[in-house]
Every structure is written in C-alpha cells, then in structure tokens.
Amino acid sequence: MGGKSDIRLIDENGIRIDGRRRDEMRPVRIEAGVLKRADGSAYLEWGDNKVIAAVYGPREVHPKHLQETNRAIVQYYYAMAPFSVDDRKRPGPDRRSTEISKISAEALENVIFVEQFPRTTIDVYVTVLQASAGTRCAALTAASVAVADAGIPMRDLVAACAAGKVEDQVVLDLVKEEDNFGQADMPIAIVPKTGEIVLMQMDGHMTLDEIDEAMDMAIKACYDIYEIQKEALWKKYERLAEEEVV
C-alpha cells in the first residue's frame, strides 16, 4: 500500500488496468469436491488467483490439550505455495499467514455449529497456488464451500471480497498492481443470510464516506460470490437429485 508508481491505475474513462470498471469483480470460478482423500474440498480461481481448500473433520484433536470439552475447535491453515508468487516464497508459516489463518478460522467458527461436536477439531487447509491480491478472500470463499462439501453443519456459507481505494477512487476487488500502488485495501467477509460481517481488515487511508462506499460495494460483491458458491455445490450434488423416470 502507498507505493509510488508511474502507471495510471485508472484511466480517464474510469477503466482500471485490467479493463474492469470501479465496481466490477474479477471472474470467479469454483468447483466443489475435487479431492478424494479430504472430507470436503474446493478449487477456486478468482482472476489470476488459484487456491485449493481441503477440510477434515470433525475429528480427534492432536495435541489433546487443545481440545475443548463442549465444542469443536476450528483450525485454519492458510499457506502460499513457494511458486505462487514472483519471488519464490520460503515454505512454512510466517506472521502474515498465521494472522490470516486466525481471523479466517474465527469467521468460519461463526457459522459452524461447533457445539454439536465437543472435543473435536475441524481442520481447514487452504493453499494458494497462484497469487494476485485478494488471496485471503479467495481462500476463505473456497474454504467455506469445502466445509459445506464435508457435510459439516453450518448456519450459512461465508462469502468474502475486498474493496479499496486507488487513485482517490473506491474500487472493488483490487488486483496486484492496485494493491501495491493503491491507497487502501479492505477485505471483508459476510454471512449472507444475515448480512453480518465476520471478517474485516483495512489498511491505508480512506475517509468515512469512502469506507461507507467501499463497504457497500464489497458487501454487494459478497452476495454475488455467495451465488457462485451455491452454484458450485449445486453442480456437484444436483446429479444426485434429479433423475428421469421413463
């Protein structure tokens, strides 16, 4: 955030460097149930982001001292593949991924009926295979589909999207260059059924009015994401639902 760039990020017609309008999201594609070994899984492409999510559980907690007697814990592991970025990332967790994992686990915990599974863990693993800004939203969006695919009881899915500020204008779903040279980024996640915000971060500089506009934009986009999530689950399960009778 806040770097200097000679590139115009938004042109005089309001078109961004990847050809989108201010309030336009990158294309998102989700596939549910892509892995054999995991209890639930999803693959997601969001613009140039590619992520894969796997869910196990509820299952026994190791080490045991982490277990809670009256509910399941939700453990979320966000990781970036070494080849997901321009300069190879050293494998293993760092402070950034640990923080993203914590807030994403908390967002999912909001919708999962954890009290139905005392003394267990629900483990969510998301690996970013290719990164181009907005990976925490992409990861959480995929994770939420994978949790549903695992058959884990939940109030609703969680849908995520970011909005921010570039060249003094509020924009939706920042791409890598906008994230690097823009003025603000604000990822959020909501529970679509209630509209509650369950993940929110922001860095940069925005006025109160800009925050309002960015929130409206991001929340609206979350509802579009929600539809894509549901489509993905439908696509996997509809085959089971329907059958011609001769």
Binding site: D39, R119, A148, G151, I152, P153, L233, E242, V245
Partner: protein, 257 residues
C-alpha cells in the same frame, strides 16, 4: 434401525407423484429456508418460526417436521447402533476402537464375551482387527463406549471391508432391510452394514467383488429413484456372467473341481 428406515420412507413420499415424467428430490444448502411453522428435524436449525438447512442434503417434510437428510458428513454414534470397528490400540484392560467417527471408543474387557486376565488383552484382539460392536454409551460430551456382549458380535476373521458415506447407510439397508437382503440373496455373500458406513462382505471371491460393486452403485446413486430395481438388474447380470464364465472354465478343466 427403525429410525433409519423411517427416513427412507419420508424420502419416498417426498419424491413426488408416481408416474410423472421426471421427479426431483430437493437438494438444499446450508442457510437455505426449508420451512415455516414446521418443527426443525435433523439437518436443520430454527430461527423464530423459520427453519433453515444446516447441511447439504435432501429436504423432506413429514409429520410436521422438516428434515434435511445429509449427503455427506461423519458418523455420529448413537446408543444401540451396531457398528464395525477397527482396533487401533491395546491397553491392559481395554482396546481402543476406531468406529469411523470423530470419537474413538474404548472397549473394556468387561464388555467382551471372553474372560480376559489383566494384561492379556492382546491375546484376544490386536491392532488392525475388525470387530462387530454395539455403541453402549454416549455421554453429553460424546465420550463413547462400545460393547461386544450383544449376540452375534464378534471379531470378523474372513471377508472384506468396504466403506460408504455414513449418511448412505439407510439406502444400503433399504426399507425393512430389503436392499441388503437382496444383495445377500443374489450374491450368496454374508454381509453386515454397520451404522458407521463400514460394510463387511464375505463369500466366494468373485461374488464378493460383485457385492462390493453393488455397494458402490448404491453409494453413487443413493438418492436416485428406482434404485432397488437397478441394483437388482445389475446383480442379476453380473452374477449370470460369473456363472457362465465358471461353467466355461469348468468344461475346460475336464470336469472341474
């Protein structure tokens, strides 16, 4: 088991009128409104007068309840369930049994049909052994215990084990046990369906393969209409193939066995 059959009934009824050109079972997703003013059954939750789905599943309304029969998910043990377990650890007075649920279940030496001296546990059951057990206790924080004292419970020494999604178990059993009886009769295999999704098959090697294939077919098409008929056709044609190839090879071997 009676309870399991009940939801098979519900599904048949919620399927729509017989004779229409196509029928749809309603798949619902978590957070989806499934009923108003109805009672919240399995796979659902209530907010005010509204009932929502909590799992991906098939909606079914019956007797004032709206249920969502889950398509996926782990097995959650209930007292009285007969399950197939695998021994994962041996202690001086108990065995630890994996029952394909989030909760490992101890089997105490007092709960087996043998007189076991302290420290002699491994002589009776060892790691990797397959056992047929009953869930004898589940407390409020899901401590689970299993027992082998009910009649017919034993170590399974021969045969083969396959696993299906636990929510498909009612379909494996069928209405009043119709599906599993048909599998057993047509393949001449001994079979047992554990509530935890593990299925034991024992019989002639080729027939076991056919039975396992039929289990796979039921799992894939658990929610399709006309499943029983399709499984029957499958079994009859596969078993016919087996007996004709057996005859051929018998002839070739100058009288056979």
């Amino acid at each position: 088991m009676a309870e399991e059959e009940a939801y098979v009934d519900k599904r048949e009824e919620s399927g729509g009128a017989e004779g229409s050109s196509s029928r749809i079972r309603e798949i619902v997703l978590p957070g989806e409104l499934v009923g108003e003013g109805l009672r919240a059954g399995m796979g659902t939750y209530r907010e005010g007068s509204k009932v929502y789905a909590s799992q991906v599943g098939i909606k079914s309304v019956r007797a004032g309840y709206v249920n969502v029969i889950p398509i996926n998910g782990r097995y959650m043990p209930k007292v009285g369930d007969q399950v197939i377990g695998i021994i994962t650890d041996v202690g001086p007075t108990y065995w630890m049994v994996d029952i394909n649920s989030p909760y490992p279940a101890p089997l105490h030496v007092n709960e087996v049909p043998w007189k076991v001296e302290f420290g002699d546990t491994a002589k009776y059951l060892n790691i990797g052994d397959t056992v047929l057990v009953t869930v004898s206790n589940v407390d409020e924080v899901k401590h689970v215990q299993v027992s082998m004292l009910t009649q017919g419970q034993r170590r399974l020494n021969t045969g083969f084990l396959v696993e299906v999604t636990p929510s498909k178990v009612p379909r494996m059993i069928g209405k009043g046990g119709s599906m599993i009886s048909m599998l057993k009769n047509l393949t001449h295999c001994r079979m047992f369906v554990g509530q935890n999704g593990r299925i034991w098959i024992d019989g002639e090697p080729d027939a076991m393969v056919v039975a396992a294939e039929a289990v796979g077919l039921i799992e894939r098409e658990a929610h399709a209409f006309g499943l029983t008929e399709r499984v029957k056709e499958f079994l009859e044609s596969r078993m016919a193939e087996l007996s004709s190839s057996a005859k051929e090879s018998d002839g070739g071997e100058d009288g056979g066995r």
